[in-house]
Symmetry: C2
Subunit: 238 residues, 2 copies
């Protein structure tokens, strides 16, 4: 498939009309064809990792046991390392990370508030669902980045370390309190919608454009399928 | 000076009487002569770093700007790395980190609550004062640990990275709002007392023993002198 966007100038948005006209087979466009500018990718990704880290910090602070505190702190460390790695990439692009992230702060902070959940288990579930979908999304979006970024971003953000560690803690929680399962399944379902909106905002499409949502659909179907597998793993219905 | 405690068996406490009798010149005993058992040192240190990390996380979450958020997140990363390094040492001692830390959790959690402060600046000041004194304390206590632990702990917990980074953020805050200075000086003074109680609990002395407090005094005088230098650096009276 032709990547329509790789050679476009850095700032201006290509016209919606020509994009649609050049790509009639829109249903097969994946996230790698919707890659944003490098700077935007890095800054949005860096702030999202910081936000995930904040969610995990809250989970550490309110962890019911020293054991869960320790387990979650390992995941927090990964998120923070990823944040710093993405910030370092911004610096390599001669950008100040704080300034570059600023445009994403309000939306991501509001998202973080919305997915906070009612208690520790829901908070942890949020970290599991959100990191699962968004790390996936950013690995795929990286496919359209220049140079060796696709591989390096996949190495940084891919892998199962975060998912495995959170799944282990959540499985223990559900095993200790089987009644949790239905509540967490419900909560997980609510999280998907909000998280996909963030995934959409990370892709290079204007907001609220029905045509572009059609373009996104197959990519999102894939993100949701992976999410369903992660829920299955906990014995929960997605 | 003779180290009275290096060869003592690992678990039993030496009698208070003989300790005093063998060391009439108690005023010159430093923290390296009050080193606790290795396991206790590592576990208490690991939990304190986790607690410092939690304080820093709260500061990240409530940071007034993306710039301060980013700056504090670098410090949080150091605290978390230190926590994990100490946890890894516990594992090398065939101990489960979560279990080993458990006995210290309640006291450290209560301390963390007590030094929370009224707002973001006080919270950050707490991280500055507490990490300054306790990292110093643990580097000195490591002096009596076996093998190459003294050097390795000094490399892990020493250095100015945490202090420098927090001093930079606090200096900016005070410069932007000079009225902060007197409030933060006052808060800093309150923190010292609580923090020295934690330092005391990390040393190998029974609680509430007047004789042993005499032994601690010179070491504490040194800790406080370094604290005073850190406050001077911010233009604050200690």
């Amino acid at each position: 498939m032709v990547n329509l966007f790789k050679k476009r100038p850095r700032r201006p948005q290509p016209s919606r009309v020509s994009r649609g006209a050049e790509s009639p087979n829109i249903s097969r466009v994946g996230l790698a064809q919707l890659t944003p500018e490098l700077d935007r990718y890095l800054a949005h990704g860096a702030y999202l990792q910081l936000s995930l880290f904040e969610t995990l910090s809250k989970a550490i602070i309110s962890a019911p046991t020293t054991k869960t505190k320790t387990a979650v702190s390992r995941v927090a460390n990964i998120a923070l390392d990823r944040h710093h790695a993405l910030s370092a990439e911004l610096e390599r692009q001669q950008l100040d990370p704080a300034e570059a992230m600023q445009p994403f702060a309000a939306a991501v902070d509001a998202f973080q508030q919305r997915v906070h959940g009612a208690d520790w288990d829901e908070l942890l579930m949020s970290a599991y669902v959100v990191s699962g979908i968004l790390d996936d999304c950013f690995v795929q979006l990286a496919g359209g980045l220049p140079g060796d970024y696709p591989e390096r971003m996949a190495a940084l953000l891919g892998g199962d370390a975060v998912t495995d560690a959170l799944a282990a803690v959540l499985s223990d929680e559900i095993a200790a309190n089987p009644k949790l399962a239905s509540r967490l399944a419900l909560w997980g379902r609510r999280l998907v919608g909000d998280t996909l909106i963030v995934a959409r905002s990370a892709a290079d499409i204007p907001q609220d454009t029905a045509t572009d949502d059609e373009r996104l659909e197959p990519a999102f179907t894939e993100l949701v399928a992976d999410h369903t597998r992660r829920m299955d793993r906990l014995g929960l219905t997605a």
